[in-house]
Amino acid sequence: MVKALHIFCLWLILAMSFSVAADSFTDRRTSVGIKLFRSMLVSNTAYLDKVTPSGELHIKLIYTQNARKAHTLASSLGADLKVLQGKPVVLEVVSLNEFLNSKTPILGAFIVQKMNGANLKAMIDKSILGQTLLFSPFEGDVEKGVFGGISVESKVRPFINMTTLKKSKITMKAFYLRVSKKHESST
């Protein structure tokens, strides 16, 4: 009985350790992703199409459950992104549904939490339709059709889905594309 309890405790500790390790890895990707998202927004040469009638550029951080995390990231991003290409930036934390139902032009959207297949698909479709630069720091999302993400190999690089780029008709600086890792397959 005592032995079984010991094994259970050990299993619990190991499971928690793995969970913590996984969380810290995802947090690190998200943190680095925010910086690359900003550089990606700056490299968008078609940003003027996304200026709202009130002359603002709208950027969204999308969450499903963890709004607090989204707000933390928003404050980190907002500190250096008050103005973009001379236009005031409006940074909003929105839920998935709010994003999907949004009517205003959106320059870029950052996925704060890992989405399931159906939600991600809906977001990708919405971003292509609205020519929104959708960014996900999570591994595998770019391959599924998200516009941009991060590639972590021997060096950290922007990761761009070229098919989505073509479909959404977003134009990027050639310089930026040169240093980015490109994904060519269809979504």
Binding site: L36, S39, S154
Partner: protein, 668 residues
């Protein structure tokens, strides 16, 4: 010639092993080369490229700072200064600069400077084997300032490569050394095994020679013993006075012959020297003989004997009856021997019948079951081991220990398996299945009249002279006594030279010639005989105590007309003579000794008091007293028949049967 063949064989083995090793070595070296070229080198290059990326990226901060210098006039200098610093960085382990060249392309949309003013190329930008790493130079706000293309030297890769290569070569050398050690070890081992094999072959040849010699040496005196006992057996007067002694000598010699034959059979089966000779056999008669032989033994041991034969047994089958009889008799004798009480059951079942247009066949199962001492599970595997007997009071000092091995080998020679099931103190069962062709139109010759010779008194026609050549005086004497009683004239020679002289002097009708003789062997003698044209048709019969299967073939090819094995069987000798001399036997209508005894006056009985005393001794199991009474009866002579009736029962300690026999005699 033999030595040259041996050397050639040895060289072939050495060459084959060496060839295998060389092939393995070549395959190993090729696979190592492929591993280096296809896997290790690309992996090392990948590692070096990663290293180059990391080094390049580490310099990005310096370049970004320089590009963000606020004063425009100082910016270009700052950037050039940083590039020079980067190109100076040296790895102490390599001893040369890590980055050989750097090209900077600035995004003038984000960096406020005149076009191309900050695009700097410094150092070697293109070299063979170098690693190119493009790095985005970004401002702290995330804006892309420039792309820096680093040309990283392959020094790190060279260092890594030579390090791994030297380790790999070391491992290769160790492996090759081990490989050669195994090679040399293998060659030594093969050489020793070869030597061992040669020794075994020499020893095996010596064993065969020894067996042949022993066989000859043992069978020669037995020939004389059994010959004389066969002669004495036909002498009524002699048998009346010394019958028991003669029978004992005959039985003992016969037993000895059986043991010798067992050993020889084993050596023959072991060396694949036995050829099966199937012939048409009347199955019912064959089985009846076995039953009769076993019944006698079972009765003596006072145990039951049951035989169950399938109703549908074929009448005539094709089988080597001599070998099948040998197997079954061995199993039956063992069953009787190892059963103290209960019974022995002999069954023959038909498992399958196959009827075809040309030939029929039948699958028979022969089984012998007993309620004897059985065999413990852990000993079961040992019973077929040659010369091995399960240690118990019955087997100790009995038999050669080869019977079951021979039976098993013979069954295997017939393409089948001898099976055994046994339980200690409960009993054993031995069985085997045998597919046998069924003969439809057979004229079997199995039912030979074994007593026929006893009725032969002579032959028709003129007298015949037989020359008997044998170095053994007793053998010659037996042959002379055999033949003279049938009216042959016998002349004797003790060797080849003498035989050839007597042949010329006497012109005999037939020669009986011993094969192995000291002065001149039988082959030489027969060749000398055949060398003269007038003796080309002279019948010469070989007599041999050696039993090698090739002997008969050799003898016939040398010019002998027939071969007879020693100890001589009278019937076979007469049959050979009849065939060679084309004789017609004169058969007398006299009865055999047994018949004569039966036809004689009724058995004389001792007085009732003596019979009662004998009965009393039997009831008390007093064997010493019984023997004393029997001695007296034997000495008297009048009660020989009575003595012969009760003596075997006493000698086998069958006291109950003895009492019953005495009761029966009294009543009669």
């Amino acid at each position: 010639m033999k030595s040259r063949r041996y050397i050639a064989g040895k060289l072939k083995t050495t060459f084959t092993i060496s060839l295998i090793f060389i092939c393995v070595l070549i395959v190993y070296l090729i696979s190592m080369f492929h591993y280096w070229q296809g896997e290790l080198q690309p992996r090392l290059r990948q590692a070096a490229a990663t290293q180059a990326d990391i080094i390049s990226q580490s310099q990005m901060g310096l370049l970004a700072n320089a590009l963000q210098t606020v004063e425009t006039d100082k910016r270009q200098r700052a950037v050039q200064q940083v590039i020079k610093e980067i190109l100076l960085v040296t790895d102490p382990s390599i001893g040369e600069p890590l980055i050989s060249g750097l090209a900077l392309e600035v995004d003038y949309d984000t960096v406020q400077a005149s076009a191309d003013s900050l695009n700097i190329n410094e150092g070697i930008l293109s070299c063979e084997g170098c690693f190119i790493s493009e790095v985005a130079v970004m401002a702290g706000t995330g804006e892309l300032l420039a792309i820096a293309t680093f040309n990283v030297t392959e020094a790190y890769y060279r260092l890594l490569s030579s390090d791994i290569k030297s380790k790999l070569i070391n491992q290769l050398i160790i492996t090759l050394a081990l490989f050669f050690s195994v090679w040399v070890g293998m060659m030594i081992l093969v050489s020793r095994l070869d030597k061992l094999k040669q020794n075994i072959e020499i020893s095996d040849r010596a064993k065969t020679r020894f067996l042949a010699n022993v066989s000859h040496e043992l069978r020669t005196p037995l020939n004389a013993i059994l010959g004389y006992t066969q002669l004495f057996n036909q002498d009524k007067t002699l048998m009346n006075s010394h019958g028991r002694g003669i029978e004992t000598i005959h039985r003992s010699a016969d037993h000895l012959l059986l043991l010798i034959n067992d050993i020889l059979d084993f050596s023959k089966v072991d060396s694949k020297g036995i050829q099966l000779c199937p012939s048409e056999v009347i199955l019912a008669d064959f089985l009846k003989t076995l039953v009769e032989m076993t019944e006698v033994r079972a009765t003596i041991k006072d145990i039951g004997f049951v035989y169950e034969f399938a109703d549908k047994l074929p009448e005539v089958v094709m089988v080597d009856d001599k070998r099948l009889r040998q197997i079954l008799l061995n199993l039956l004798n063992n069953a009787v021997k190892f059963t103290r009480q209960g019974q022995v059951t002999f069954t023959v079942e038909v498992l399958a019948e196959n009827s075809q247009q040309d030939s029929d066949s039948v699958l028979l199962r022969f089984a012998v079951k007993d309620t004897g001492i059985g065999i413990a599970d852990d000993k079961l595997a040992d019973i077929f081991v040659p010369y091995q007997q399960i240690d118990n009071q019955i087997t100790r000092a009995e038999g050669s220990g080869l019977g079951l091995t021979i039976s098993k080998n013979l069954v295997e020679l017939m393409g089948q398996t001898l099976n055994v099931q046994s339980q200690s103190e409960v009993g054993s069962q031995f069985w085997f299945d045998l597919p046998l062709p069924v003969s439809k139109h057979a004229t079997p010759l199995l039912n030979k009249n074994h007593n026929a010779c006893e009725h032969i008194t002579g032959f028709e026609g003129p007298s015949k002279t037989i020359l008997s050549i044998d170095d053994n005086h007793f053998n010659r004497d037996v042959i002379r006594q055999y033949l003279t009683r049938y009216g042959f004239d016998v002349i004797e020679a003790s060797g080849g030279e003498e035989g050839l002289q007597l042949l010329k002097q006497n012109q005999p009708d037939l020669v009986l010639l011993d094969v192995l003789m000291p002065d001149m062997d039988g082959y030489t003698v027969v060749e000398a005989i055949r060398s003269e044209a007038k003796y080309e048709q002279l019948p010469v019969i070989a007599l041999t105590a050696a039993t090698q299967p090739y002997m008969e073939e050799k003898a016939l090819s040398c010019g002998f007309n027939a071969v007879l094995a020693k100890p001589l069987e009278q019937q076979l000798l007469l049959a050979a003579l009849k065939k060679a001399l084309n004789l017609d036997w004169v058969v007398a209508k006299t009865s055999t000794i047994e018949d004569e005894e039966t036809d004689d006056e009724p058995m004389q009985l001792p007085d009732e008091a003596l019979i009662a005393t004998l009965k009393e001794h039997a009831e008390k199991h007093n064997i010493l007293a019984i023997r004393t009474v029997l001695k007296e009866l034997e000495a008297d002579g009048r009660y020989q028949q009575f003595h012969d009736l009760v003596a075997p029962l006493a000698s086998h300690y069958q006291f109950v049967k003895l009492v019953e026999a005495l009761k029966g005699v009294t009543k009669a």
